[in-house]
Symmetry: C2
Amino acid sequence: MRTQALYGAVQEDLSLVEDVFESLKHGDYGPLGDMLDIVLSGGGKLLRPALALLSGRFGHYDLDLLVPLAASVELLHTATLVHDDVIDQASTRRGRPTVNSSFHNSTTVMLGDYLFAHAADQVVKTDNLRVVRLFSDTLMIMAKGEIRQDLTAYDSRQTIRDYLQRIGGKTASLFATACEGGAIVSGQPDEWTQAFRDYGYNFGMAFQVVDDILDFTGDPDAMGKPVGSDLEQGTLTLPSLLLMDRSPKSNPIQKYFTRPSRERLAEAIQAVLEFGVIQESYEMARDFSQRANEALDLLPDLEDRQTLRDLTEYILGRRS
Amino acid sequence: MRTQALYGAVQEDLSLVEDVFESLKHGDYGPLGDMLDIVLSGGGKLLRPALALLSGRFGHYDLDLLVPLAASVELLHTATLVHDDVIDQASTRRGRPTVNSSFHNSTTVMLGDYLFAHAADQVVKTDNLRVVRLFSDTLMIMAKGEIRQDLTAYDSRQTIRDYLQRIGGKTASLFATACEGGAIVSGQPDEWTQAFRDYGYNFGMAFQVVDDILDFTGDPDAMGKPVGSDLEQGTLTLPSLLLMDRSPKSNPIQKYFTRPSRERLAEAIQAVLEFGVIQESYEMARDFSQRANEALDLLPDLEDRQTLRDLTEYILGRRS
């Protein structure tokens, strides 16, 4: 992805974000550095840092402030992924062993906390209390979103509205913060800052909807997880919820949730793939990405604006 | 403890910190509030918040800033306790069921994250970037201290120096931050701020040494954990390390670590209690508390200074 210059004018500058991670890995007590190396070298696409930098291009593009911001967003994201690994008992992520499979469960919890600490350390380097406050709010929203997801597992009374609220908290809020943070740090006017928040939020919603689609349609090898892993863990996502909406009284998902078995899971996945709900889900993702792009209308017509719009197209078409 | 007016002039104001916790419990989505209720009503002594407020008494005592600071310190402390519960697989803490025994392991991890978010939210309310930075540094030090403890479990090559460094990071750093934060928020001169940092750090060291002594000598009912629980989990503390120093080549702790069994654990605990290392540990705690009190020499002779000095006496004599 990186080699396709998808990130336009900030493509090169992303290496500065990677440099931050390298310095963290080498700057500490051996075993800690090794752990950071595992979680920060996972072939992540640095999508959130790229959005932070791109947003900063519309104001005073000061890399001394924008790079720590971008690094902080990615560290916060990574911290939640690490804690997710504890949560889901997943043994692989992106096809690589998860931290949790390399270390004790307890160590994984602490490693996540350590990443939170690094995220805090980086965001403080922006020297901007408003950005710090934004991060603190985001952490709160994300933590609530995660707990909500956990508490509602295997609960078939959830609605699409619940789902949208959940992914808003779990995913979209951090994308919104990446973009809004970039605008704030680069000193942009309030209405641009709001536009970037809207862009980021809707981008994040589209991103997560596609992610949830790919959980059903993606190549398990490329995704690094089995088909239907969300359903398997009792998590209802958009395709499942659309299917349940079609036949609320009796459907294979409800059957699976009532008494989980391998066969019932396979039946539920099959139904999701056959009854057109994947297409319907894609339409919803497209709606979000359109809203994201429209939010940018009031910004100057820089090349970076096109880069941001191309990115929303890219995430709709991604395969893993 | 609270009824003895141990906290002098700030005793009453601590109820404002409790009010913050109450408002957090009632301000959110039902199940989340219930979880906060369990972890924030644990009969904690609010020692760290009290220190933050007492330190603030030497400057501009503005409760609008000091109460969020004090609440933040306690929330950060509680977050680490919650994550510790995941780590240690402990089923009780302070004699009450731990969160982890009331909720799924995964929920406990997220609840800790949620408490971190609240800690961040409160510290940002101090509107002081220097204090935010202090918190971020402290989180980093604490996270490192925890990982270090975890990675060195059952490793009998540790030294007393390693131990002091570990408890410095795990415990004393947050006490130092409570006191230093109080001084910063109330606008005190740099040398007073440093004095409070020194006081808090040494206070915290004394506190943790006593804690580690009580793990051997305390009443299991009052402590809410069995005698020798640290050793049982492979954690070497000061009494154990002093014992190992006396007979480095062969001692019952090394035997227990080499091949853990109930009998070997009992033998090791017995040896710690019999060979005078408890008294020696108390002498070390007393040294730290003296250093804490001496750090206050350069401060004005307010009644609050005596309160702080009485507190160091109190923690030396505590029984649980």
